[in-house]
Symmetry: C2
């Protein structure tokens, strides 16, 4: 089953926004066994949209369209779809009620231009929008399915998850697909591939393995295709088990979640608390943690100690340690992490100090040199890393390495 | 002058990576007066690539292609281009020398598959790749320009900036274009549009104004098209000046830089230092600051005080303040920001405390309630905000509002 995605709007074509919608939609469709043949971004131009729709229909069974549904003059998706299907526009009472209720909620007058948002091509089935005024629209035409959705990411995502994907599964005969993701940290893609090559070679034709690398982490995703869900599940679990056993300590999760969430989930379950002391990551580690709802159950807080003075005053790092060994040293990171642990009174602490770059490197401590420490009341682990010369990558890789070290200490300690 | 961008490779179509290249390329092309008509992502499939090239050539004068130039079997862009132009592949000595030098540098044996990377279609002009083994290729065919580049972002960006854009400017008669960006904070797009509508109406046909809104900020970008650079510059500066005067305090920069960089540049110039005390933003504000090289000149560090205890122990917030008024209150944010200012010994401090959500809201303090404080030794400003119910958006909007408040205090104080 093939799909195409068409995004409509000039914002993408002038480079004002990055099209993140399409990748998200493509990954959701792939999970259901629908392959995406092409993604096209076209302008708010009648002829151009008509051509794109016609071209897509020659290649795909399902055409998903986002954007161009706003109330302003340059949003022409709806009337162009009506032209494409050769139908008129009709006022839809449910959509009008939704628009009216939104305007009432925000106490804004309903203009004629807003009423027009309730007009839809007469051959469409309306998909309700719980998060905005523009309706989604589903069309069946000459054996193809067309779905038009707003370009606002959270409106589109809600529609896809709640309405479009379930409806596609209902009306199409899609294969049963089961995915199983294994999150690994600390080894490269090619090393992992070599380590599990015989397991990969033994996979049956209906189970595929994908390597999804990202900044010090590799996700191994098994996908099983077939008809019998229970049978597929048993099979995929058996292979996942083999891979997990073989890869060993580099496996940190058997589900598709962010690395910091692995730590949060585990510590929340055990009732443990965490604090941080960040120098070169400058708050990025605590930001990763606190972007997740409920993180306050585990995370008490931390220090961003960029200057020598704050390393001393907040964390209690000794002045002579800093001057004798430098801010980027095992001695300093040890005092930082133990300072966080005892001063902030948490069960676990993590600390990082390094030279993110591009400036600040020296011959014996080049840009990319980072010391990471993790501690609980019984043990402190410290390790030196040498990353590259790109500031943002160094910050990201430091965070990943720090979480992995924390997982190592948690494994040793919480048995 | 019209361009199209074609990205080749399955990673985008399965949603594994987001296509950030195209937006970057589109914005660079637009700066030079080249409009992008369509962006297409297609699979590593010969027929599909041939169709995409042919379709693009019916619409555009310049076709930029990225991806599919790696050494492995599934990278078929090069031989498909040769087929499209109906030519053979030839070994290019310069490209081979580059491939060999890279393999020598990393001490890896040169395989036959790597030697093949030095083969290019015989009608192409090679664009050298200083950052990798895959060459760029420039083709002139039937009055159209085709350029093929690697999909690795930093390889592509370097080629575009150093080779492709300069060459396009040389061989094409492009208009002179000058852009001028004004960064505003704190007012919505429609309010700004109304405020400057007469200035916008008075713009000559060769000067366009674009509104680029993003999370509490709106960038106003003036673009002037013509032949005489000096004349355009005078004209655009005059209109920019009018807009800046009219918009007033909401203008925070007359160049296209991130909001936090406005603060950093100004404070660095004045020799001022900054610290932070973050609760609901959980390190995001300090992360925004410290992602910029050289931020340590201004930023000393800060506290991420998620728990009551850390608000007390690091920042010196009084226990009775927290219990009497709650963590989200003017009293608490005042003690937080003054705690940071005096304990961390900086010239300026900023503090935020709020309910990011989705949990934790109450009737009088719903999710999205945020108190922000900024201070110097003479003055403390505090303000309450009511944002929405989306955690990540609340974090971002809080950061933007906090930087804007800091700019307000800097303006009042540093005259």
């Amino acid at each position: 089953m093939l799909a195409e995605i068409i995004t409509i709007g000039d914002e993408i074509l002038i480079g004002q926004i990055v099209d993140t919608n399409s990748a998200w939609m493509a990954s959701k469709l792939n999970e259901e066994g629908i392959s995406v043949k092409q993604i096209s971004s076209v302008s708010d131009n009648r002829e151009h949209i008509l051509t794109a729709l016609a071209e897509a229909a020659t290649r795909a069974d399902i055409i998903l369209i986002t954007g161009g549904l706003g109330p302003t003059k340059d949003d022409i998706t709806k009337r162009t779809l009506a032209e494409y299907f050769n139908v008129g526009l009709v006022l839809n009472a449910d959509v009008l009620a939704n628009v009216e209720s939104i305007f009432k909620k925000y106490n804004r007058p309903l203009l004629e231009v807003n009423r027009k948002q309730a007009e839809v091509p007469e051959n469409c089935e309306v998909i309700s929008n719980n998060n905005g005024t523009a309706p989604g629209m589903w069309f069946n035409d000459k054996g193809k399915i067309y779905v038009s959705m707003p370009g606002v990411p959270f409106e589109m995502k809600y529609m896809m998850e709640e309405e479009v994907i379930p409806k596609l599964k209902m009306v199409l005969t899609l294969p049963v697909i089961i995915h199983k993701t294994i999150l690994t940290v600390g080894e490269g893609e090619s090393f992992l591939a070599e380590k599990i090559s015989d397991i990969e070679d033994s996979l049956p034709a209906n189970i595929k393995l994908a390597y999804l690398p990202k900044m010090g982490q590799v996700r191994l995703r098994l996908s099983a295709y077939g008809k019998n869900e229970a049978e597929l599940k048993d099979k995929i679990d058996a292979f996942a088990h083999k891979i997990v056993e073989r890869v060993g300590i580099n496996v940190v999760a058997r589900e598709d979640i962010p690395l910091e969430k692995v730590v949060l989930n585990y510590m929340a379950e055990k009732g443990l608390t965490l604090t941080t002391a960040e120098s070169c990551t400058g708050g990025y580690i605590s930001h990763l943690i606190t972007q997740h709802a409920g993180s306050s159950q585990v995370f008490l807080g931390g220090a961003v100690s960029y200057s020598y003075e704050l390393k001393e005053s907040i964390l209690g790092v000794k002045n002579e340690t800093l001057w004798q060994h430098g801010a980027v040293s095992s001695e300093t990171v040890k005092e930082m992490v133990e300072g966080a642990l005892f001063k902030f009174k948490s069960d676990y602490a993590m600390a990082v100090t390094g030279i993110a770059g591009p400036g600040g490197g020296t011959e014996d401590k080049p840009v990319g040199t980072v010391w990471i420490g993790v501690a609980n009341v019984n043990k402190t682990l410290m390790k030196k890393f040498t990353f590259g010369n790109k500031r943002l990558q160094n910050i990201e890789r430091t965070a990943v390495a720090a979480f992995y070290m924390l997982i190592t200490l948690l494994r040793e300690s919480e048995k």
